[in-house]
């Protein structure tokens, strides 16, 4: 075994933790790993600990990087860039900008009032919740490097194309008029010191762990249930490669659900183990993270129904195409 695959197994996949939890389940709880209960307990404990470790370490590192790109600065970076370049930059900055759904509306108003093209704003709004560096690392840990990179790449493509289409449709008139009335103000922020950034990163970890832990436990619980209690044949019939509607079903189940990538990953993991196609699983994850009832309700305050519907339709179609596309090329990814 070469040093890289050893590092990957121990650090990202946390083989040591797997072994440790196995010892705990077998020796302390006296449950065999081959029983359903033993397997579920192992899945639950191992996944929960692993996700919390990955979450804390990664949010720290990522927040440090993100402290260089607050939305206030992103707005300035995007200003004055026209055409598809604005969409590309918007999609890429969406990966880096710290973002919680509670600030999507101020960001939307801020970008639009700064005169940024509507398309670039939407590219940003699509990529920001869908992809971030944490999801890249998490996917790499659970499913391997190729799938992690693929998720980010197709996410960026959906964000760029989505923004371009909205731009082409000239939908400016479907933005609520008070958004245009907002005046554009740029603020000068003091440059943060290294210590400020460390402090910021620590706060982000606390804040995010505090916010997402219930979703993680629910996600791991559902994952453990799928893993050991729902028969493979049922899951395969609904979501397996043999069902031509699998991606559609996964996408439409995912859309109304509100959770972030940390809560969805254990479910995705259990589904993949049950033979569900990787494209189907990625569609489910993208549906959950990008579109959700709470975020759509917030967006409906600033755009009129027609633009909202267009946005939902474009993102949904993009996610479905990605799902079927990746299922077709699964052999290259695993």
């Amino acid at each position: 075994m070469n040093i890289f695959s050893w590092l990957n197994a121990q650090l990202l996949k946390m083989k040591w933790l797997w072994d440790l939890v196995e010892l705990l389940v077998e020796k302390v709880f006296g449950l065999s790993m081959d029983t359903r209960l033993g397997g579920s307990v192992h899945f639950f404990i191992y996944d929960t600990i692993k996700i919390f470790i990955l979450l804390s370490v990664m949010i720290y590192i990522i927040s440090y990087i993100q402290s260089y790109f607050p939305p206030e600065r992103t707005k300035k970076l995007l200003g004055g860039i026209k055409g598809i370049k604005g969409n590309v930059l918007g999609a890429l900055l969406g990966i880096l900008t710290p973002f919680c759904s509670c600030s999507s509306i101020p960001i939307f108003i801020g970008f639009v009032s700064a005169g940024l093209p509507l398309g670039a704003t939407f590219s940003f709004l699509i990529s920001s919740p869908m992809i971030d560096l944490a999801s890249l690392m998490l996917l790499m840990s659970f499913f391997g490097t190729k799938i992690g990179i693929t998720y980010v790449a197709v996410g960026v493509v959906i964000a760029i194309i989505g923004g371009v289409v909205i731009q082409r449709l000239n939908m400016e008139k479907y933005v609520e008029s008070y958004v245009w009335a907002a005046e554009n103000v740029d603020i000068e922020l003091d440059e943060m010191t290294g210590r400020d950034r460390m402090e910021f990163a620590k706060d982000q970890v606390k804040d995010i762990v505090h916010r997402v832990w219930p979703y993680i436990l629910i996600g791991v619980g559902i994952g453990a249930g799928i893993h050991n209690w729902i028969p493979q044949s049922i899951i395969e019939r609904i979501l397996g490669q043999g069902n031509p509607f699998s991606v559609l079903i996964a996408t439409f189940i995912g859309i109304p659900i509100y959770a972030d990538i940390f809560g969805t990953i254990p479910i995705a993991e259990a589904l993949v183990a049950k033979g569900v196609g990787i494209g189907t699983v990625i569609s489910f994850m993208m549906g959950v993270t990008t579109l959700s009832l709470p975020s759509l309700i917030m967006l409906s305050k600033v755009v009129k129904p027609k633009l909202l519907a267009t946005f939902i339709a474009i993102v949904t179609i993009g996610i479905i195409i990605v799902g079927y596309g990746l299922n077709a090329f699964t052999a290259l990814l695993i």
């Binding site: 607050p70 710290p98 919680c100 509670c102 101020p106 108003i109 603020i187 922020l189 706060d203």
Partner: protein
């Protein structure tokens, strides 16, 4: 002194308000504190990440639950 906290009820905003009250007490200062949750007003200060911390109409910080120490430094 007029201090505004711009935000829509996120956990960081509440923490900032709490720390601000402690800081004002420790400094023995008096100020009117205004909580602004109107999104348009928020944007009119150029703030997009909450909470925004505004002292006498000048944005001092965004997106951060400032500590008591930091607030004291900004107010003196």
């Amino acid at each position: 002194m007029n201090i505004k906290i711009l935000g829509t009820g996120c956990s960081k905003c509440e923490k900032l308000e709490k720390n601000l009250n402690i800081a004002l007490k420790e400094l023995n200062m008096d100020a009117t504190i205004e909580k602004v949750d109107d999104l348009l007003e928020l944007v009119s200060y150029g703030v997009m990440s909450t909470p925004g911390f505004v002292v006498d109409d000048e944005v001092k910080s965004v997106g951060k639950a400032l500590s008591v120490k930091e607030i004291k430094k900004m107010l003196t």
